[in-house]
Symmetry: D2
Subunit: 162 residues, 4 copies
Amino acid sequence: MIATTKIRVRYKDTDCMKVVYYGNYLTYFEVARVEFLRQQGHAMSEVDQKVRMPVVEASVRYHKPAVLDDLLEARCWIAERKRASFRFGYELLNEQGERVATGFTLHACWDPSSSKMIAVPDWLAKALSMGGPEMAPQTPPRSEAPRRSRGAPLSTDHPSSR
Amino acid sequence: MIATTKIRVRYKDTDCMKVVYYGNYLTYFEVARVEFLRQQGHAMSEVDQKVRMPVVEASVRYHKPAVLDDLLEARCWIAERKRASFRFGYELLNEQGERVATGFTLHACWDPSSSKMIAVPDWLAKALSMGGPEMAPQTPPRSEAPRRSRGAPLSTDHPSSR
Amino acid sequence: MIATTKIRVRYKDTDCMKVVYYGNYLTYFEVARVEFLRQQGHAMSEVDQKVRMPVVEASVRYHKPAVLDDLLEARCWIAERKRASFRFGYELLNEQGERVATGFTLHACWDPSSSKMIAVPDWLAKALSMGGPEMAPQTPPRSEAPRRSRGAPLSTDHPSSR
Amino acid sequence: MIATTKIRVRYKDTDCMKVVYYGNYLTYFEVARVEFLRQQGHAMSEVDQKVRMPVVEASVRYHKPAVLDDLLEARCWIAERKRASFRFGYELLNEQGERVATGFTLHACWDPSSSKMIAVPDWLAKALSMGGPEMAPQTPPRSEAPRRSRGAPLSTDHPSSR
C-alpha cells in the first residue's frame, strides 16, 4: 500500500532562500507516515500508548525545491520490514507531478511500559504491509521513468535551500 | 579542521515524546556548518550574496535522544570535496560526552547571478579544507573509540523521538 | 465572512509538555489567514507579488491546550479595517468544540516595488470584508456563550505549554 | 533584574520574505525567559519537575525585522507579579541597538503532582523579582528614548514578515 496525503507549504516552512527549509521535509515525512498508519486503522495518538517507534536513521534526497503555497502530494510506504525494525519510504511530488524530495526513515520499536526495545509487535507488523513504487508491477520500465531513479546525479535544478 | 559550537536545546525543539524532534537535528547541523564557515572567515550573510549551497542529500543517524536544556556540542567538518559538490560531516555530543546524532549533508553550488549550478568557487574551496574525526591522526584506534563507529547496530538505547 | 480551515496537530508542533508549543499557534493563525484570502479569491503566492502584509502586532490567548493528532477548526475573519492597516481575528476549536486559542494579528501594507508602506490597496480592501463572531447577528447573548467572552479570567484548565 | 541573552538568527528562523518568521519571536522570548530563570539559579529542566508555567497570553509588537545571521540581544524581566500569575516583559535588539520586537507573556502556575492550578510558589516568587526598562531609574526621559515608547504608531519601516 502507498498512502498519499496532500500537504500545503506554509510560510513557516520556507526560509530566506525562498524555498522550503531542508529540515522541514522530515516534517512532511512525519505527516505522510502518520497518515499511512491512520489509513491502516491506527491513529497516532493511540499507537503511542502501546509502542514508540523511534527513528534510528533518516535520509532525504532533494530533487527540486518546494515553494510557498505548493500543494504537495506526499507518498509513504513500507520499504523494508525486519524482526525489530522497519523502514518507511517517501516521495513528495509538486502539482506538476515533479519529484520534490525522496527519502526514508528507519524505525525501531520501544515499549513504554518496560522502557525496552522490543520486536515489532504483531498488530503493528500487520499494519506495515510492504509495498511501494519499487515493487509496484505497474511501474513503467526505467527508461520511461527517470524520476524513479535512485542514484540520480546532481541535476542542473536548484535542489533545495542551502 | 573541526568546528565546534554549543547549542542549547529549547522547548521549541522538543516534541511530545519529551525528546528533540527528529527533524530538528538538521537545524543543529545548519548551526554547526554556519559556524564552520564563520570560523573560516565567511559569514553566511556574505556567502549568500556570492553563492548558494543547496543541499542535495542529508542523512542523520540517531544515537541517543537529546532532551530539554541539554547543552550540545556540535562538531562539523568537511568529509568530502569534489569539483562541483562537497560534504559536511556532523557529530552532536551531550554534556556527558555521549553521541546524540551523526550525519552528513551533501551540497552543490549555485550561482545566484546566472541561476546556474557551478563548480565550487576557488575562494570557497579554500575555506573547505578537509578534516574530521575520520582522518584526524590523534583519533584513538577503533577498539578504544566505539563511539566513532559508523555502522553501529541498533542499540538498546531509545535513539530518538518517533 | 468567517473562513474556516482544518488543521491537524503534528508531532513537530508539540513540545515536551505534551501540548502544542505556544509559538505554533501563530503558525495556525497563518494557515487560517492564508485560507481566508484564498477563499476570497487571492492565492498567497500571487498576493505576495503585489503587496506585503507585514505583521505589526500579534496576540494570542490560550484557553485549552491542543494535543497530538487533534483536528482543529481554525476560524479567521477581519476584525478591523483602517486606511493603512487591518486586523485579522482568530479562533481555534478542538473536535469537542472547545476553544483552544483566540487572538489577532494587525497588519500594514508594504509595496515591494517602491519599498514603502502604503494604504491598503482597493483590490485588497474589497477582499477584506468585515465580519466575525463579534458582529454576527446569530451570536447568542453573552450569558449563553461564555466561550465568546474576551476577558476571561485564568481558568482552572491548563491553558498551554509552559 | 533584566536578563540578557544573545540569540543568533538561523536559516530555520527566517521565511521566504527574507526576515524572521513572525511566530519565531515567541521562540526567542522562550530562550530569554529560560535564561532569566537560569540566571536566578533555576535551570528549566529542574523547574519543570516542580511547577509548570503555562502561558495564558502572549503578545508581540514587531518594530523592525531581524534577518539571517543577526546576533540579537534578548532582554527579559518580570513586568508584573500577582498571587497566581506573573508577566515576563521582553525586548529584542539588533547589533545596531535598534529595537526588533517587544512583547510579554502572561503565565499561571500548575502543579504537575496534583494537576491543579496553584498560587505562585514562594521559591519561584523569590526568583521573579520585579524589574525592567519601565522602572529602571537610569531610563532617559521619554523624549530622548523613542525606542522605549510603547504605543508607537506604524512606522515606515517594514516591521516583520507577512
